[in-house]
């Protein structure tokens, strides 16, 4: 395979919350969604438009071998901790070619692989990639399609149907809900999500990710308007109630904290 290049945000070594063990997160740039609360706004770039300008704000062009050498230095820590690499974004599947090349090469090296995805992809195009992974995180941001469109800019139909397809791959899957007061934290939506997860996933698991505003600084650098102050982090007591409700639906609640 050729040593192709792609667009990335800064890789993050020593991540311990996105899968098992000590991990490196590879953030691929570009995203078809425009979530109003996004904490990685630098990923909101048009990849084909990037070819022209050499370097965009907070976006770096790396070749496969650049990324692999970053990962190589971390492998001893994966080995002892059961960790590995997690692909994230943006939407990791958007730059399909370089993602495929990285996943295939790392799979052959025996590196534990995970992905965090919005679920917004053409399943048949990325099926071969997903099959090689050890863990797939897919977000369900809202069960109501209209709300989903309003907050993310796209319909949830494709996402929900992709979740069903991924279930057939027999790769462990965790559904993540970014819990945001003012968007999706109401009990009704959470229970609906849990029901969907139980009905469609062999080993139903949900992880709740309470909203944080760590991305605000990046909005400043990018000179973009920050997410609305109306979006709030849920209180931990309320999160506890959500956890109970999800468990009541027969879904396991997992955490990587």
């Amino acid at each position: 395979m050729a040593n192709i290049t792609g667009y990335f945000m800064e890789p993050q070594n020593f991540s311990v919350n996105d899968g098992n063990g000590i991990r490196t997160i590879i953030f691929l740039a570009g995203c078809p969604l425009r979530c109003k609360w996004c904490s990685n706004p630098e990923s909101h770039v048009n990849i084909s438009g990037l070819e022209a300008c050499k370097r965009n704000k907070l976006i770096y062009r790396y070749s496969t071998s650049d990324i692999l050498s970053i990962i190589e230095k971390q492998r001893i820590f994966y080995r002892y901790s059961g960790g590995g690499v997690t692909f994230s974004g943006g939407e990791a599947t958007l730059q399909q070619d370089i993602l495929r090349e990285l996943v295939y090469k790392l799979y052959d090296k025996g590196v534990n692989l995970a992905i965090e995805t919005s679920g917004y992809f053409k399943f048949d195009e990325v099926k071969d990639i997903l099959k090689k992974l050890n863990l797939i995180f897919i977000d369900i941001k809202h069960m109501d399609d209209e709300e989903h469109k309003f907050f993310t800019g796209v319909s949830n139909k494709k996402i929900l149907s992709n979740i069903k397809s991924v279930n057939e791959l027999n790769v462990p899957m965790v559904i993540r809900i970014p819990v945001i007061v003012g968007v999706n934290s109401d009990m009704e939506n959470i229970i609906k999500t849990a029901k969907f997860v139980r009905e469609n996933i062999r080993e139903p698991k949900i992880e709740l990710l309470p909203y944080h505003s760590f991305g605000d600084e990046k909005y400043e650098i990018l000179e973009k308007e920050k997410p609305s102050r109306d979006y709030k982090t849920p209180l931990s007591k309320y999160l506890g109630e959500l956890v109970k409700a999800i468990r009541n639906e027969g879904v396991k609640v997992v955490s990587y904290k």
Partner: protein, 790 residues
């Protein structure tokens, strides 16, 4: 999980009372020397020891289970004028006022010392002899300069020893040692000069052994007296039991855990009375105490909780005596630290895992009593029980800075490199802060501190200190005329080698004087081979005699600085030597742009080969140069990158450095990155540190990292920390320790120290109470990069 009321009371007392200086040991020691003028030195020292044991006031404090102090105060320091009295004379008026490690002392005490004690020792102390015999050109470099520092070897005793409980003390008791010495004496001839020397040695051993037995018996008598007056029936029983134990040990071998731990404490007291030592290590406590633990449990003599209480009582006793040191030494060894290292875990002599119940109970004791002593160290090997690693990372998460975590294999390898038999090398314990050591080893494990960064300063300033403007280094060519990086490097190494030479000169003189003036009969009796050969520790009587350890300070700052010169001056040509030197002369003032460029050059601690390679080269050169020198016994000098708190005082004597550091700011400790410059991840800092061929630096290496507490406050986080540690050791590293307290907590402790008396932090190689550190030291700890924003 609560400590008993008894332990809590003792703990509160430990936290709330200030250390006081006792003049008693100095008084008796001096009186004794007045009576023994003309006798041989070992005999005089042994008699002074015995007299002290016979005369010093015996104190048993309320509720104590383990008894014995070195003076009339519960939290007590002593004076050893035979080593040095001049600094005490100079500094004692300020003892209660000084910023680092103050002591309580009364004016009556001061008057007494000046009238009765110091005049006797005038002209007789080790310090005075050392300073008289030291060549002038070396004195300029090594006496109170912060450039080359060895004052703990001529103002203090050596310490740095691990009594052998397994093969000597618990096996024979001091009664047995006396019998052995007498038997040896009976075979020596009066017509052989060599035998005569041995005779003096064995006689000195008999005298000190008698002394320590008397000392214990006096505690027995005292306990009996107290029992008579005691109203509380339970306490009366305890006192009678103490009386029984102290009349048995350390004269005889112990039979129970209680007897063994009281024995070990009396040995510690003997060591303290004999020389007020630094790093009188307890050694592998979980190993040598285990037979007594097991037999007590099996025979129903004590239960686990009772033994836990004894361990905690022992921890408090170890923390109550205070090492009395000069203000200068206190800057190097801040926090009332005595470096009584206690090692648990690791492999047994046969290579099997040695972890046992006591290993866990020791970790628990430190978690519960939070005392700064013992210096708790663990040995972690690749097959160490996961449960033990979990217990270790759990303790790390408590933010005490304990334990110091060591690679079992790296320690083994360091001793194998030094020529140890494999079984002995596997049985290593930690000495002081991070030195692999053994109970049959004689070594000056912290002989000299060498300030690497001054060598660079001298290379860049024709041998002149930017702080004092004195010419201390070699007068070499004008740095503005350096034409290649190679030339800069050669200039640096030339100055560097010169500092190493002065270190050697000073050490050889100190070693010679130790042989002549301060033999160590009591501690020699605790070392097997000394008894076999009839040779004191000062005469290399131990089985393994290693060369003195030179400790390098400022490795990161120096490597970072050379990287800046290499990149900015000779590769990028972004500046010239002249501009850079001008910027350093101006302490960067008016050169802010250049400083920004300098700060942007890669820094050691981020896993960037460009600068890490420079650090490796310096470290390798250091080993080669250091190792080529031989000590007084013909052994090669050893190298180390230990910590101690030395990176503060050594920073004060160095002007601005090319890395962007400003004048007088702290340097870097051990193999740790410069504070705040390891901006990547702790994994990157670990990878940088592990590149340094740590196993050749047999004096130990030290990496200090701060982790945010949220990274380790879950079980899962602790497991990941365990994996980090194992990965680091797989890369060949020897030691790592963590501070896991949030910056917020540290700031609060600065504001309201009274609420944070129990806050232990890792300084470097050891932990101590944060509130007992000077403000500058506290700020330096806060400045260390906290890892774990993720």
């Amino acid at each position: 999980m609560m400590v008993t009321n008894r332990i809590e009371k003792a703990r509160q007392n430990y936290l709330n009372s200030k250390p006081a200086i006792s003049c008693e040991r100095a008084r008796i020691w001096t009186e004794s020397h007045k009576m023994t003028e003309g006798e041989s030195v070992p005999i005089r020292r042994a008699k002074a020891f015995r007299d002290t044991c016979e005369q010093i006031e015996i104190k048993i404090f309320e509720g104590e289970l383990i008894v014995g102090t070195i003076g009339e105060f519960r939290k007590c320091g002593i004076l050893t004028p035979e080593f040095s009295w001049t600094w005490v004379d100079r500094e004692m008026d300020n003892f209660d006022k000084r910023t680092q490690d103050p002591y309580i002392m009364t004016n009556e005490q001061r008057t007494y010392l000046r009238k009765e004690i110091f005049p006797y020792w005038k002209g007789k102390s080790l310090e005075e002899a050392f300073l008289k015999q030291l060549p002038k050109e070396t004195a300029k470099v090594v006496v109170d300069t912060g450039i080359v520092d060895s004052d703990s070897k001529w103002r203090q005793a050596v310490g740095e020893i691990t009594p052998d409980y397994q093969d000597v003390l618990f096996k024979k008791g001091f009664g047995g040692i006396i019998r052995e010495a007498k038997e040896k004496l009976s075979k020596l001839s009066n017509t052989s000069a060599e035998d005569l020397k041995k005779k003096a040695f064995y006689n000195s051993i008999i005298i000190t052994s008698e002394g320590i037995i008397t000392f214990a018996n006096r505690h027995s008598e005292k306990a009996k007296e107290l029992a008579k007056e005691e109203k509380d029936e339970l306490r009366k029983k305890e006192l009678l039991n103490i009386a029984k134990i102290c009349s048995k040990v350390p004269e005889n071998p112990p039979a129970t855990f209680y007897e063994a731990v009281q024995f070990a404490w009396v040995v510690q007291l003997g060591g303290i009375i004999s020389e007020n030592p630094l790093a009188l290590n307890v050694g592998r406590f979980d190993q040598f105490m285990y037979p007594y633990y097991k037999s007590d449990i099996d025979n129903g003599i004590m239960n686990k909780d009772e033994i836990q209480e004894l361990i905690e009582a022992y921890w408090i006793k170890l923390s109550e005596w205070v090492w009395t040191i000069s203000a200068n030494t206190a800057e190097f060894f801040a926090g009332y630290n005595q470096f009584q290292n206690l090692t648990v875990g690791g492999k047994a002599r046969d290579g099997k895992d040695a972890t046992n119940d006591l290993s866990y109970m020791c970790l628990k004791a430190t978690e519960r009593v939070k005392t700064h002593q013992p210096g708790l160290s663990v040995r972690i090997h690749q097959n160490c029980p996961n449960e033990f690693l979990e217990a270790v990372t759990h303790l790390v998460s408590k933010g005490t800075g304990f334990p110091a975590i060591h690679s079992d294999n790296a320690g083994y390898q360091m001793l194998i490199n030094a020529g140890y038999e494999p079984e002995d090398a596997r049985d290593w314990n930690n000495c002081g802060c991070v030195v692999p050591h053994f109970r049959k080893t004689g070594e000056w494990t912290s002989a000299v501190n060498i300030n690497f960064t001054t060598a660079l300063e001298f290379a860049l300033n024709q041998g002149v200190s930017r702080i004092t403007n004195e010419k201390i280094g070699l007068d070499e060519k004008d740095p503005k005329t350096f034409e290649t990086y190679e030339e800069v490097k050669r200039g640096f190494y030339k100055q560097f080698d010169n500092l190493v030479e002065h270190s050697v000169v000073a050490t050889l003189i100190a070693q010679k004087l130790h042989k002549e003036m301060v033999p160590r009969p009591f501690l020699s009796s605790c070392i097997e081979e000394c008894m076999v050969q009839g040779k004191d520790l000062v005469d290399a009587g131990a089985k393994y005699n290693l060369g003195p350890v030179l400790t390098g300070i400022g490795l990161a700052v120096t490597a970072n600085s050379l990287a800046v010169i290499k990149k900015l001056v000779f590769e990028d040509k972004a500046t010239t030597m002249e501009n850079l030197i001008n910027a350093l002369d101006a302490n960067w003032e008016g050169h802010e742009e250049l400083r920004e460029l300098a700060l942007a050059v890669p820094k050691y601690g981020n896993d960037i080969d460009y600068v890490d390679n420079i650090a490796i080269e310096i470290a390798n050169h250091y080993y080669n140069v250091g190792h080529a020198h031989k000590d007084i016994n013909g052994n090669s000098f050893n190298t180390a990158f230990m910590g101690i708190s030395n990176y503060l005082p050594t920073g004060k004597v160095v002007g601005a450095t090319p890395c962007g550091r400003k004048a007088k700011e702290p340097l870097s400790e051990g193999v740790s990155p410069f504070a705040g410059s390891d901006t990547s991840t702790p994994l990157a800092a670990m990878r940088s540190a592990a590149k340094l061929n740590q196993d050749v630096h047999s004096g130990g290496t030290l990496l200090n990292l701060r982790l945010n507490e949220d990274l380790v406050n879950t079980k899962r986080g602790q497991s990941n920390l365990g994996s980090m540690i194992q990965s680091f050791f797989a890369l060949g590293a020897f030691h790592v320790q963590f501070n896991t307290i949030s910056t917020e907590t540290l700031r609060k402790a600065q504001e309201r120290p009274e609420y944070y008396k129990n806050l232990l932090v890792r300084v470097a190689g050891y932990s101590t109470q944060f509130v007992n550190l000077s403000r500058a030291m506290q700020d330096a700890i806060i400045a260390r990069t906290a890892h774990g924003k993720y």
